[in-house]
Symmetry: C4
């Protein structure tokens, strides 16, 4: 009986009573507070002044997140009733969210097991941010965006592939053009690729740019191509988005003639 | 009778005779002149040379805007005839435009009531710019843009949410990567977040950028993601815009039922 | 008879025989050559070395363009046969292309009439570039782009209007935030507006940027809004473009059932 | 018999058995490894340390690519069975991929024939990257992108044409505005064009920007136009993409005539 009630509190799909959301809200806010703490801890003056409170928050969060993890392992057989308990538990443990849940508490316990760099540990804790994606509120919008990204996957991959070829070609050419004029800035093709990314994405930090005439012409060409590189995925995503919205509309708009009552396509 | 005529002059909805627009045009131009004055006053040489005229404009504007505010409070019961006069007045006073109207004249009278920083006062006066949105001329276009933004609100919020998570993740990673190589530039995650925003939005001022190899690879990755971050809201807004235009078109185009031939709204 | 033949050579609409295009091609290439010459003349070493040839080109071009202008005035009555000769000529002279034609030859003759700055004269000559738009080859595509821009005029103006309000608000705020920390960079709101444009358009030269914490937060906010500022007109133009293409499709696709021959909507 | 089997291994269209792809995969990976080697060779420390292995890879690749080239010439008559053998071979040799195949092996043999700059040779080898485009995996997505680019060719060309006129006009104006204030930065219109490209594409390296008031206003104007320059091709490509997807949908969706009920293609 208790197990069933606990399940409702933790199940994202079934538990849709107001009280059932309490656990979700509590954990969500704890994640956000943890995130803010990580940012604040990076300020040396804040870290030294409030180290005590950061430690309390750390221990408290770990207790909660560890509890949550074991509860989710425990109730896995109710979430997946058609699987054997052991298989259901393994399914949660090896699922994406299960791994995220584990990775976000492991850094606290790892130093007691193996020796590990503390900075890496702190970064690992950030993985918990991914759980914010589970927030229900904007679920519908997120699922549209997700299905758009899934449907345009191939086109996006092709675009990335084209961008990558363009980057290698542009940086190899630029390296050969500029290496005599700026041997320090364009030391190798890796450096030239840093320039190529900054130009194609139109970031343009200004730490590296061509100074020769031919180099500037190539750079201008790449910068103008950068506009096309923005236009292509935008067109692809727009198109998929419009199709998705059209499908939703067609599904909802059951349309009958108000005079004769017959359905209109 | 006078009250009715005054109402027509100030009512944006009903007063559509040419003469009724005079008050609107006069106040609109006064707002624009005030805006130009604020910009010009920031030039020390202009401010000292024409201080006298700026003062005249200030006092004149305040008189007009105060008059306008009290007239709008006075005529509120005619604008909302189905409410009690007191309620109608309160409705205007607590409405968005009512608050804007109040905030834009308060700074002049506040120093006589409480002690306040003059610079903040001057900035408050800028709120009057918001009233420019009430201009009728491009009303139709603005209402389409508005309804598009309202309809895509959820998707835009999800995108902002994703961008925010991305910014925190990227800046925490970059802070850990670059802090030993550039301890001054990447002092804390806040500084790294300044880099992350400049890169993701492709602004790239060039005051902060990675110098280590891994940092540059992360930066390139974030800059390329920045393109997707532009593509996503563009696709969302395009899609909503197209749907909105389609609806307008469907409404205008006459449409008959293919079964009984009668017209469908 | 000669007048009729000359008209065919110069008329963009009627003269569609291959020979009729010769004059158009010749003048188009002369315009392009003039444009290249203007760019090359700005290089001091090239200008001194080839001054003689630049002069020949100049005199030759002026003779051609002056001849063209007078021919177009002369044949105006045949182009507009339903107007009186004097009115037809006035129509061409006061038309946009007529004024462009005049402005592009006047700079050569003006020094003989009034005293004028030579540099301004040279710039005026660039107006002839506008005539390139008359090129026929891509006429169809250009007319779609034109009609899209005309149809979205109101929305684009509203967007520009919103951008302008945003720029004034952002720069006034930033001026008040940064003027004590960077009195030289943020001398006045005009300077702050230069920062605001560079940030909102994501150009980010890096000559001016906030250094205070609040300033950076405002800057990040404006840079992120910049993405929306790109998304809005893109959505508007995409939508108009799609509508335009749809209309062209509907017009061309006369659609009959291949079995019963009846037209399908 | 052997010739037929070899043809299946190399033919991109007919050979769709799993074994037939082996040659394609092998050559694709060899191309990618060559690309990585070119990038790594540009690092002096890596180049000196692993020069021996780079040489082995070079000789090995050339042998494979030369073999591939002669096999493709040899089997050309089976690929194009309706042509005479000599004509079929010439067709492959003069085809785009045939020329790419040749250019990518020639640099190795050229030094034995004529004296040539080694750096140019190394760059020529990069042309082999273009063959990556032949990869089958994302073929469908690529063909949509291709047909979109082909269909919008005219509009894209018109946009490029407008951008070019804008660049010339802006840089000539800016050159005349800034040359007295910054004679070194704005030496000639070519330099000003470098500024114009960096501003219009919103790259903004920060190596060149106006410092005069009028120059900054022009720059702000160009930067804001840059947003439109992004919006226009994005709208065009989105529209073409949506049309293309609509056509694919219409083709798949079964469609009956509303009059006689029979299916329409």
């Amino acid at each position: 009986m208790i197990k069933q009630k606990v399940t409702l509190l933790f199940d994202d799909e079934k538990g849709n009573l107001k009280g059932d959301k309490l656990v979700e809200y509590f954990i969500s806010w704890l994640i956000i507070i943890n995130m803010v703490a990580i940012v604040l801890e990076s300020y040396p003056e804040i870290n030294t002044a409030y180290a005590y409170y950061f430690n309390i928050l750390e221990v408290f969060s770990i207790i909660i997140f560890t509890l949550e993890y074991f509860i989710r392992v425990w109730i896995a057989d109710i979430i997946h009733p058609n699987l054997k308990p052991a298989k259901a538990r393994l399914k949660y443990i090896t699922s994406f969210m299960g791994l995220v849940d584990l990775i976000s508490i492991l850094p606290f316990f790892l130093p007691y097991i193996v020796k590990i760099d503390l900075r890496i540990l702190r970064t690992l804790r950030l993985f918990r941010l991914l759980r914010l994606l589970k927030l229900k509120r904007y679920f519908k919008s997120l699922s549209i965006i997700k299905s758009v990204l899934v449907k345009t996957k191939n086109e996006i991959l092709v675009t990335i592939f084209l961008v990558f070829i363009l980057l290698v070609l542009a940086s190899t050419l630029m390296y050969n053009i500029e290496k005599t004029a700026q041997p320090e800035a364009f030391q190798n093709i890796g450096q030239a690729m840093w320039w190529a990314v900054a130009t194609l994405t139109t970031v343009g930090y200004g730490d590296i740019y061509p100074i020769t005439g031919i180099g500037k012409i190539l750079s201008a060409f790449i910068a103008l191509l950068g506009i096309g590189i923005v236009a292509l995925p935008t067109g692809i995503i727009s198109s998929a988005y419009i199709e998705e919205v059209r499908k939703l509309r067609v599904k909802t708009e059951q349309c009958n003639c108000p005079h004769c009552g017959k359905e209109i396509e």
